[in-house]
């Protein structure tokens, strides 16, 4: 009996489109560690931020007596649910600095991790649909350039050259008046990123502990001495909270108030399609953000559901609205099919900027409030938080994002201009 192996399979009558598949994953990823009784550093939350922090603690600071505690499966929260857009073209100096730091790390991450993370710098277009959008866009482009972030303003005909399927005609409710363009922006494969960090951390001897939910904290004065978990109590020299949408559950246990609200944020994907969309397009006015991922599927994010929710699901009218916006901006998408929808829990802050830094406990560091920006920040916050943990001082890149800015009023307000009014 002969076996037809895949490589000798009969030549297909129709050739397959290149790129419709992904590179193989490695044969070894990480141990499922049993928690030890004590660690120098305990990171609560095994998502992208927690895993990246673990990686940089080992790589940059030689700190490996570290546990990453994950209540479910590793990187199964927002890391597994985001739309993988990476960019650094934020308005304010403080924001563009941390995101640009991240972007520079993204550019070397595949090599650093030794993992095919499929970082594709295909550029991102942020569309402008009103005159105020244009003003805000120019303002951001000019600020980006002065901050050393690549940015261009594109007129509609230039938008069409970058992404021919965008409807730049006047035959649309809110015509495209132009766009900002960041050529170095792009997408990466989220699972590969998380697993690349996890594998490196594991190789460095860091324990990645899954199915380990934190149920409380042991404290002594202004120090936390350990964490109680569903897998026992673990003593900790330093604790870093990297729990995104679940942060409030932890800070409630610690008696710390943090101004974040957790909301469902839905996303969706189409079936695999031949390449039609070469870049990333984002629009606030016609609410869309979309890219065509590596296998050919269109990946889109919907709007945030209005209410607080930890359910990892949202309402369908949000998806319907998203589809209307997508077809409005990309008429060729009409007969693409919605294949799957899902939701994450985004931790939104009052000024749409993250909250990173000290807590009332001297050995507990906070990292939350990234809202929809968490994925793109992953290596940046990982390295900055690792530095912060190692040095005991907030890294300059995270210093502006301290919790006390809400008291002083020195916000980093990325909401940008409100709806234009005149």
């Amino acid at each position: 009996m002969t076996v037809q192996s895949p490589s000798t399979a009969r030549t297909p009558r129709t050739t397959r489109t290149p790129g419709a598949d992904l590179p193989d994953q490695p044969d070894s990823l990480w141990r499922s560690a049993e928690p030890r009784r004590s660690y120098d550093v305990v990171i609560v939350g095994g998502g992208g931020h927690g895993l990246a922090t673990a990686h940089y603690l080992a790589k940059d600071h030689g700190i490996t007596d570290v546990a990453v505690l994950e209540k479910g499966w590793l990187a199964g929260g927002n890391m597994a649910r985001n739309t993988t857009i990476i960019r650094s073209n934020y308005l304010w100096d403080e924001s563009s600095a941390i995101y640009e730091h991240a972007l520079q790390l993204w550019e070397g991450l595949e090599e650093d991790l030794g993992y095919p993370i499929l970082f594709s710098q295909r550029g991102v277009l942020n569309l402008a649909h009103t005159l105020q959008d244009v003003r805000d866009s120019v303002r951001r482009v000019e600020a980006n350039r002065l901050n050393g972030v690549d940015a261009e303003w594109l007129e509609p005909d230039e938008v069409r050259k970058v992404c021919p399927v965008v409807n730049t005609s006047a035959d649309i409710r809110y015509p495209v008046l132009g766009a900002t363009y960041q050529p170095r922006a792009g997408i990466a494969k989220h699972d590969h990123v998380a697993w690349g960090f996890a594998r490196r951390a594991d190789q460095a001897g860091i324990d990645l502990v899954q199915d380990c939910e934190v149920t409380g904290f042991a404290s002594d004065g202004d120090r936390v001495t350990g964490v109680h978990t569903t897998r026992g109590t673990i003593a900790a020299g330093t604790v870093a909270l990297c729990a995104a949408g679940s942060t409030s559950v932890l800070t409630d246990m610690l008696g710390i108030r943090v101004p974040i609200q957790s909301h469902p944020l839905q996303a969706l994907v189409s079936e695999l399609l031949e390449p039609v969309h070469p870049t990333v397009v984002m629009s606030n006015a016609v609410h869309v953000y979309v890219s065509q991922a590596h296998k050919g599927e269109l990946v889109m994010g919907a709007g945030v559901d209005s209410y607080n929710g930890y359910g990892q699901r949202g309402a369908f009218h949000v998806i319907e609205r998203q589809m209307a916006a997508a077809v409005e901006l990309f008429p060729v998408f009409a007969r693409a099919h919605l294949l799957r929808t899902w939701a994450g829990i985004v931790d939104t802050s009052p000024d749409a900027s993250p909250i990173v830094g000290r807590t009332p406990y001297e050995n507990v560091w906070l990292n939350c409030g990234w809202g929809t920006g968490g994925f793109k920040a992953t290596p940046g916050i990982g390295s900055a938080l690792a530095h912060t943990i190692a040095s005991g001082e907030p890294h300059p890149l995270v210093a502006p994002f301290s919790l006390d800015r809400f008291v002083s009023g020195a916000l980093v307000d990325e909401h940008g201009a409100a709806a234009v009014a005149h």
């Binding site: 419709a20 598949d21 044969d27 805000d136 409710r173 929808t341």
Partner: protein, 956 residues
Amino acid sequence: MSTLFRTTSGGRIDRATTVEFTFDGQTLTGHPGDTLASALLANGRHVVATSVKYGRPRGIAAAWAEDPGGLVQVEEPFPEPMLLATTVELFDGLAAHGLPGQGRLADVPDSARYDAVHAHVDVLVVGAGPAGLAAALTAARAGARVTLVDEQSEAGGSLLGGTDRLDGAPALQWVAAAVAELARHPEVLHLQRTTAFGAYDDGFVLALERRTDHLGTAAPKHLSRQRVWRIRARQVVLATGAHERPVVFADNDRPGTMLAGAARTFLHRYGVLPGREAVVFTTDDTAYDAALDLHAAGVRVQAVVDARPGGSPQRREQCERAGIRVLSGAVVTGTRGDERVTHALVAPFAGGEVGAAGAIGCDLLLVSGGWNPAVHLFSQVRGRLRYDAGRGAFLPGEELDGVVVTGSAAGVADLAGCLADGQRGGRAALARLDIAPTADDRLPAAPDPVVPAAPLVLWRVPDTSGAEGATSFVDLQRDATVADIARAVGAGLRSIEHVKRYTTIGTAHDQGKTSGVLTSGIVAELLGVPVQDTGTTTFRPPYTPVAFAALAGRDRGRLFDPERVTALHDWHVAAGAVFEDVGQWKRPRHYPRPGEDMEAAVLRECAAARTGVGILDGSTLGKIDVQGPDAAVLLDRLYTNLMSSLKVGSVRYGVMCGVDGMVIDDGTVLRLAEDRFLLLTTTGGAAKVLDWMEEWAQTEWPDLRVHCTSVTEQWSTFPVVGPRSRDVIGAVFPGVDVSTEAFPFMTWRDTTLDGVPVRLARISFSGELAFEVYVNPWYAVAVWERLLEAGRPYGITPYGTEAMHVLRAEKGYPIIGQDTDGTVTPHDLGMAWAVSKKKPDFIGKRSFARPANADPLRKQLVGLLPVDRETVLPEGSQIVEFRADGRLPAPPVPMLGHVTSSYRSAELARPFALALVKGGRERIGDTVHVPVGGTLVPVEVTGSVLVDPEGARRDG
């Protein structure tokens, strides 16, 4: 090619009519009632597509949406990617081809229409198989308002693919009678070709009705192609049936390999023989029906290969009577063939060990590994599943409020049981609604079920081929194999979610309908843990893929977002206005004359307002009528300045801040009476401000006797602006004394024009003498034209938003949202004068005292004058310190602020700008740089009021 594989009779196809279609460029024929898949099979064609990763040929492996093999691209009548040949109904002129994993979008717009309908029902029944029909009949007979949806072209479900009999007649006669009875109930809506694809809270179910797809080019253009039903049901009965599950073995993807039940469906429903020589591989009794039926239809059934050591005694006896060989305790270990299967490799199987295989010739290999209840919708609505080890399936594991699962979706195996369970489900739903079932709620008589032999749960046949599972396909669409799962587990992965992501199983078009449970089983086996612990990945909407356009519905183009236009819109269009989107409003931006560009038009319009008279359609300004004895108290708490001291008949400008002290809106307030105010808001802020006021009034100060109502649409508003505006107003309203003494600045008067009430107000957003005219929109055109007529001697000039912006910017009046961005206080705008010092508190006041508000480097609104008197600074430009060398240093370059508004001024005869600049008011007189297109433009920082800083012009 003739349709060699069509039976001579039977099936639900219209044999009298032949339709022509093309597949992969080849012209073929079929019949109405066929699917593309059945028509291809009737033409002897199994190979449909090639696989995504390995380019292996793939064929039709199931008969409906669970098919993992037959992916096609439709090209005619309109390109649509990634459909299943099994779900595309055949029509004349259909052109399609097989897919290598990726579909292709049309490069022309889709002209089809899509829409959505809401339905509110007592009972929604999903699935019109035996259980669903029984449930629907029970509910309908009791008088409930019922909707029945089913994804197929006709009702019947599993009965369409079998030979069952009810009441002693073919079961489809009962189906027809049931459908007819349902049609007689006025409160029943019965939709076929309608797939319930999403289940949400509180009985909300989304269903997609395919209204014209099956008609092809004959589809009437006026009908929507597809319709989304948004169904709100008090009770949902899920009668969604079950999907047959394959068993995995080496080369199990070879075309000609098919689920056993699917072969029965092709035979009975479509009159198609999926092959001539069949081997049937099973782990339970149901596949024997396929063997027996195909045998009866003339297919040579070479063997039934039953993995169970003892097989099924009663089924063996049936087969022996028919002359079909049964091999118990045996498995299929692989296949041979070029493209299509030519041999099944069959080996003894005992104690988990596989013996030596022999080849049995066949062109059709049927497989059955048991049945997976279609629990997708139940799971979507957060029903917990429980694993049933006896049948190797996940079943609904709890009762949910508002959801009843019946029939094979609940694990019921036989027809009589499904009918009874459907009735039970219908009655359970009625009971929750307090509706009594009727006494004559009769079920048809079904044959007594035969107790089947216990099934064997077998996920995969050990791979003896030497390929170590690398050709044992679990997810055919993703080309994912047992070897891939083994690698995932070997890499350290334990969670089924991780394995799914590592292997990509379940992420393709079929969303793992056949592969999901198999993966759970195989992972559990490899890890040595119970399947219950492994669980399944989460079922997420949609159940089957739905076109984007269907979900977009009518909300496209002009209907994407409501378009708001003023009563004068047609006049503006006729006058050649160029429009701007402001919120949802269409506003004239300028009115170019022939040969004019925008700059020329705006300079002309501005000059008219500054030297003669201009007129603006300001009707989009938000207007809120605030009434009640405590109206003034509310306004005092919400505006930064004092409103209670405003006299009746007077007008005051006011600013509103958020609790954080940042400006959220501004506008003028008219006091109409002691207990009544008319608030003007920005165009974009109108709804937000009304919401804001109502929120505070209701939630914080319910003791205040005050009510707020939007009257934006009740008043058309025309500012008449310029030194000659008094002449115009005086001429149109001769009864009004328009002198400054009688009608001072910031006052209003009511008057009439030919009996029509008109309100006039001395408000100026330009610094010029100006009158705002308010009138019911019904009379807007008439009043506007009267004003134009009266203004003709003075060259009255309609102007748009752009000229309005220039005029206000020359006076340093900010536009909230343009010159502010949510980080700007009234003090930053230089409006300390509008912040009351008398009031003990108002919204935002406490935040002014925060440390960051005292920062001397806060950004403040100032004017900018380009030193070259020529450059119009692009709005949004950043501002940097003056560089003596005229060159930007390397980044990062500290920024001082940005240009918020910038125009060419007719009045100043030079360009100017407004900007937010750090410590700006301290820097008046400084020269700074603005980078513009690679050069640094020197600009002088000035005060924000550049025209008539003394305010001498407001009274003309």
